[in-house]
Symmetry: C2
Subunit: 710 residues, 2 copies
Amino acid sequence: QRGIWHHASYITLKWVFALLIGILTGLAAFFINIAVENFSGWKFAATFAVMKHSYFLGLITYVAFNGALVFSSVYIITQFAPAAAGSGIPEIKAYLNGIDTPGILLFRTLIGKILGSIGSVGGGLALGKEGPLVHTGACIASVLGQGGSTKYNVNPKWLRRFKNDRDRRDLVTCGCAAGVAAAFRSPVGGVLFALEEVTSWWRSQLLWRVFFTSAVVAVVVRTAMGWCKTGSCGHFSSGGFIIWDISGGQDDYSFFELLPMAMLGAIGGLLGALFNQLTIWISTWRRNVVHRKGNRVKIIEVLLVSLITSLLSFGLPMMTSCKPCPDPAKYPDVVCPRPSHSYGNYVNFFCSNENEYNDLATIFFNTQDDAIRNLFSTNTPHEYTTRSLLTFLVMFFSLAVLTYGTAVPSGQFVPGIMIGATYGRLVGILVVNASSKDSVDEGTYALLGAASFLGGSMRMTVSLCVIMVEITNNLQLLPLIMLVLLISKAVGDAFNNGFYEEQVKLRSLPLLDSRPQRFMRTLAAKDAISTRKVVQFSRVSKIGHIVSVLRSTNHNGYPVVDKLPTGEPVVIGLILRSHLLALLQAKADFQHTSIPGDIPGQIKFRYDVRDFTKPVSSKGVSIYEINISPQEMEMFIDLQPFVNPTPYIVPEDMSLTKVYNLFRQLGLRHICVVPRPSQVVGVITRKDLLPEVLEERDSLEEIMSSRGRY
Amino acid sequence: QRGIWHHASYITLKWVFALLIGILTGLAAFFINIAVENFSGWKFAATFAVMKHSYFLGLITYVAFNGALVFSSVYIITQFAPAAAGSGIPEIKAYLNGIDTPGILLFRTLIGKILGSIGSVGGGLALGKEGPLVHTGACIASVLGQGGSTKYNVNPKWLRRFKNDRDRRDLVTCGCAAGVAAAFRSPVGGVLFALEEVTSWWRSQLLWRVFFTSAVVAVVVRTAMGWCKTGSCGHFSSGGFIIWDISGGQDDYSFFELLPMAMLGAIGGLLGALFNQLTIWISTWRRNVVHRKGNRVKIIEVLLVSLITSLLSFGLPMMTSCKPCPDPAKYPDVVCPRPSHSYGNYVNFFCSNENEYNDLATIFFNTQDDAIRNLFSTNTPHEYTTRSLLTFLVMFFSLAVLTYGTAVPSGQFVPGIMIGATYGRLVGILVVNASSKDSVDEGTYALLGAASFLGGSMRMTVSLCVIMVEITNNLQLLPLIMLVLLISKAVGDAFNNGFYEEQVKLRSLPLLDSRPQRFMRTLAAKDAISTRKVVQFSRVSKIGHIVSVLRSTNHNGYPVVDKLPTGEPVVIGLILRSHLLALLQAKADFQHTSIPGDIPGQIKFRYDVRDFTKPVSSKGVSIYEINISPQEMEMFIDLQPFVNPTPYIVPEDMSLTKVYNLFRQLGLRHICVVPRPSQVVGVITRKDLLPEVLEERDSLEEIMSSRGRY
């Protein structure tokens, strides 16, 4: 009966965790947004106020504000949480594929990510807060699942059950979905993002839980924003969370428009691939040259980037001549120029005339969320000149490339949307000029452009599609977005891999692709095993021998062999390096004779499971840290109770493609390669595995009772 | 070089097939919709025309029209395409899990499904055309991938490459997505439906292709509907395809409304589970009692159901008293009563006064698409009386249960939406009465009710959510839909499995669940193999022996053993029953001596691959159909060239849970259970499988050149 209670509490806990992940991620996103919006609001308010007296002092204020915010970010990252730099999505992707990057899921990384994002996004750098939010969600999930903390002595027993790889990965998957759901207010997009882009193994049971987490996030975020409507959140208005409502856009398209739209897809693929390539080069250069020189150089680098960004976003609009406001008779809805303390289009910046606006400042001298809203804005034809858009495109693209990889948290979604929306709007201007119809809308092209650039860079399909639809709140464009994404992904794929995959590669994280390479078809399992001789232990081994093997090899798993009464050898299982280390450290099972301890199955297991679990983010104990006396070196240990008795096995001449699929689909860490069997005991088919069939076997009851509970 | 061309043409062909599936499914959906709308249009036009003279003659016209349409459907199904009856989704689900139901993917099933749907839906039965459209899409995909037809002698060689299980399953998955995308005009919903509900194995490469197919469907359907706007499609108006635009619904909710919404979820779970249970009982009864008696009984049964449906949908509104039209001053947009030849609310049916309408007739005496549109209609408070809705709910629920399982194509989506929308609107009326706010809208509750019933019956989550959003064209309700679905699925799961799973079980299709049962943890691989002794062949076997073994056993795979030069036995592989049958039929490799034919690897393979492929929808040849002379019985055959040399193997004491996961995750048909190995040749880890590492091995070049191309 205890089994059922145990199981029920485990299930309950899983769902409670999903709920908590949703709530906490929603709150974290809300906090980041409120902070960013308020810092930006103060910054722009102060700058505009000072500018009334002197433009130069305005520039100084702007640069100083940005510099201070960015410095706070880079200081936190370099000093406290180095793992919080960058996007975090490549590392999470690698983690879910089975590769631990040290420190990536720690509590301090979480705090660093949240505070760092506020500084870097508030400081106006060409990066977004969406990637970091995914990482934040993953950290929250992992910290929850860690089962308390040894450091702070919070270590309740019932929490330890989640200290295994599978449960923790499930939680992190939920966390990723929650992050996307919170970042874009896109719950379905979050689920799909987790499914398409992040996880390596997906079980359908998980879908349901991830879905729940996303729904919780949606409710939390909405409630929090409802609370803000009372005006208690300062500068945080509806603009805070990404929703660029373009429901006013064009709801139909002519056949000829498919051509410029397809063109957008092609441009997106080309520019996206270029972006990926440039970020690879600059990241390599940074890693090999700049970041070797320590934290001080990292800080100076970020501050330099911030200075350049500030100067460009202030200076370039200054050099642009203002345009007269549109005719109020023709566009009665347009407020031009916009009042000083509100958000919107048509900012009056450095204009000689009261009735003019500066189109470049509208997008460049602004928060990125507002800039995108302005680029997507509908029913505002000819708001931007081709020249301003081109200037912005080139400058912002360069800034985005330059900024990526510096030591601050940085997401690529928002910069991608900015770049794409800009050339989208450019193409839109061309189409408006070429077409005589009124129905063509520049804002719609800006949206398609944004989709195309993201598609060309990140190469996501379904999830990106849903995210784009959810953030623009416009379903009618769905088929067009699909079309654009198809083309941009296909074009981009011709040049390189997706952004995250390239970044994973760059960090030399050994990500296993879901599909085996074609050349593996000509190889067999035995070709993949290292040429080094396989190192194995006898069932009862001398401590000294184990220590010397662990010192001289770096294998992670060792087969254990025994002899049958007939004298024939038999493999009794595989023992992991980490378990051997735990045994050597505990010393509880050392014995003086080489005779096996007890009857198998009856042996007392003296360990707590957590002695054998891997720590979240450290390398674990090393063999050189364990002290063993010379007397102990002469003792023995019976490894039988500690082996994995039935690792997955493959015959040595099995095609490597099959081996790869087995390894990858089941998420294994070791496969034992064995000689061809001499005998088949039986063949298991679909029918043999049906629960009805198994339950009907007479022998079942007997088998189960004779074995007892495992 | 041929390899690359071969590969490129294969990839191209895959995409061409995806394109064709999209186009053809879109056109099929369009054709079905046009036909249904026109038949229904004629029916109602004729009935209304006759009713002007006599209500009794109107009833006769209505019953006759319905009877004729339903008869055409059941006649086609029973006489030509029995496999086209029902929804088809359970069978497709089983097919993608690895179980072939005879006839389910044939060309004649496709035709039967299309024509049968038109009759059954046009004839006003309580069923939908959406499930059948999924089946239609799957059939189109399978017929395309079949590689021509042996019967009609269209059998080009380049098409045969898709004659393998994996490629055909991929195509069918695309077809399912296309079907949903076409049925609901919901491309993203289609992709997710295929992913969540239908497939058993999902590869991320497939996602991309499925996405493409869905996009194609969206474009085709839109183009076709654009063509209809010119008025050349008769009664087919915008009403044809499911899009119940409720963008006018409530865009916000008060906190207190979460309670009635949660209640909707609970009701949906209860009624959904009840629906599943009732359909199980009635299907079992049908199968055991009614349908045994042959086709004539099936036809009579369907005609009886049609008669009952017609009488109820005509008679019940007649017995309802009419209501006066709403005050035009208060609701200026309402057209009441609606003009005779248009679609919409407020139908004047059997009313004594010109200025009245019949609320029950508005939903019951109507096509289902229009009825749903009327139930979802916003800003029409108090259109329906509680009594009419209750009457309709009870009657339609019973009709839906009664109709499911009759010998016509039938989908459960639309009936589910009808039932859910009705009680949703009922709850909505309660909330409107209880609340003082104007913002509460009955139509929104109807939509949530529809989501809850589908969730409670089908237990889908993400895909259903996206489909609901796509068909109502309203994103703002997404979090509420998620909430309702979460509750209704959880409540429903407490009682039984999802609708499709129950139907699969009912048909005794041995579907393997994605998760092993808990009791399997206590079993080992050897407990699952049948108690019968394993039957194996020697490398060179006597024909007579093979024949007698094939006759006396019904295994699908037989291990083949050989002797090493040392005399030790060694398993050289597994041979399939179907391959043995092909060899016995061809007789090309019979030999007179028991000496192995050639040096292994050098043997000439005299067969075309297609000789060994399984036919799509038949049982294949039986051992009793092969004639072998007594002389031939004495001959031998060397099985070595025909075995699968490296089937997946597991040691006999591996936990059955692990075996199950291996089997299920890799989609296997056979696993060989072997004794514990006596030796481990090596251990393969993640690093060994990285392409970079493998490519760097010095030996690789050598190995590959020495082996030649496989």
